[in-house]
Amino acid sequence: MKLLTHNLLSSHVRGVGTRGFPLRLQATEVRINPVEFNPDFVARMIPKVEWAALAEAVDCLNLAAIPKEPIEGFEHDETFLRKMHHVLLEVDVLEGTLQCPESGRLFPISRGIPNMLLSDDETET
């Protein structure tokens, strides 16, 4: 699971609504995957990123800290974009858990795949 995906994932447990974000990340195995750098894509995704949640995930994984917020003119700053490309697309969480901040429900991550299956009771009607 890439950190970009983690930054967009939100708990869909019944009754949680908008309070299902961000999922608290805990990782026991992380891999770095080289991914081709596409500045257009990174620049387009930056505005969608919830920065505090990303900073927290980076901290949880003991990665090098990211800037406090997107720097002005980030669209044309290759150094910044490359840094964000690495954090968002090249860090892969293989084993760990995601925790719903509202319900406490744990979603396990195995072989890089989060298991988001809910029980009947947990599903919104």
């Binding site: 699971m1 890439k2 995906t5 967009l8 994932l9 939100s10 708990s11 869909h12 299902g20 974000f21 991914v35 596409n38 257009d40 894509f41 387009r44 995704m45 969608k48 919830e50 697309l89 072989r111 890089g112 795949i113 989060p114 298991n115 988001m116 299956l117 809910l118 009947d120 599903t123 919104e124 009607t125």
Partner: protein
């Protein structure tokens, strides 16, 4: 679990349908997008999305299929999930969504507690939320019959989508394909389905929309029971998918007084 070997012909069909779905998605040119692949399976469709320069997240309910996707080393992220339980993402996460041969499964009640209409609505309403405003979803599916297709489109409309069904090769039992094209923004034009003869005048799609007002305005000018009124009413009934006699020179003609 060992998956049956997939034939190269099946792979070709899946790839072709993905290509068509992406075409119908009408993404802006030369822009790498972030897409959702519903029922991504072993990543065949995802690979095509990656080849087109886009990024994607796939959801599938089958661990066996996702394991196969891992073996194939797909580029998109994979999630184990049930689309009928909702799409677990923040609003406005995706630039578009495709699905190949998956959505009709929502019509099956796998457990006694499953109510297809509820699961369909949960899927469509959450899908609507996670799409960027104005983004599209193109869902290739195999509806069992017209009732099932109507059940699906009804729930999609309830969830706020406009759009319609594009049918490719409607006259070929083997080649016929249904694509549910959904728009999350204002209504826009629905592409024509493909035909063998490429006859552009063949009506191969139906539209459904929440927009009533503009249509009502069109009717106000018509005098009740006039020929124009009859033609408009017949056109409306065709849009609703009802069986209507073709329009001829006799349609709405003045009848003898006993009528």
């Amino acid at each position: 679990v060992v998956l049956p070997r997939i034939s190269s012909r099946m792979i070709d069909i899946q790839t072709k349908m993905t290509e068509r779905a992406l075409e119908l998605l009408c993404l802006p040119e030369n822009q790498p997008c972030y897409l959702l692949d519903i029922g991504c399976g072993s990543g065949l469709s995802g690979d095509y999305i990656s080849d087109e320069g886009h990024y994607w997240v796939g959801i599938d309910i089958s661990t066996a299929m996702l394991d196969a996707a891992l073996d194939r080393d797909t580029e998109g992220d994979l999630l184990l999930g049930d689309m009928g339980q909702g799409i677990p993402f923040r609003p406005g996460s995706f630039d578009g969504c495709i699905s190949i041969s998956a959505v009709q499964w929502l019509c099956n009640a796998n457990k006694k507690s499953d109510i297809p209409a509820k699961r369909l609505y949960r899927f469509f309403s959450s899908l609507y939320a996670v799409l960027v405003r104005g983004a599209r979803a193109v869902l290739q599916l195999y509806p069992e019959n017209s009732e099932q297709l109507e059940l699906i489109t009804t729930q999609a409309t309830r969830a706020g989508f406009t759009g319609g069904v594009v049918v490719d090769f409607p006259n070929s039992a083997k080649a016929k394909k249904f694509y549910l094209c959904l728009f999350s923004g204002p209504s826009t034009f629905l592409p024509k389905g493909l035909t063998e003869s490429q006859d552009a005048h063949q009506a191969t799609e139906s539209t459904f929309t929440n927009e009533r007002a503009p249509h009502k305005m069109a009717r106000r000018g018509l005098m009740k029971k006039s020929r124009e009124w009859v033609l408009e009413k017949k056109a409306r009934r065709r849009r609703q998918g009802k069986e209507v006699r073709p329009d001829t020179q006799y349609t709405g003609r003045k009848r003898k007084p006993r009528f």
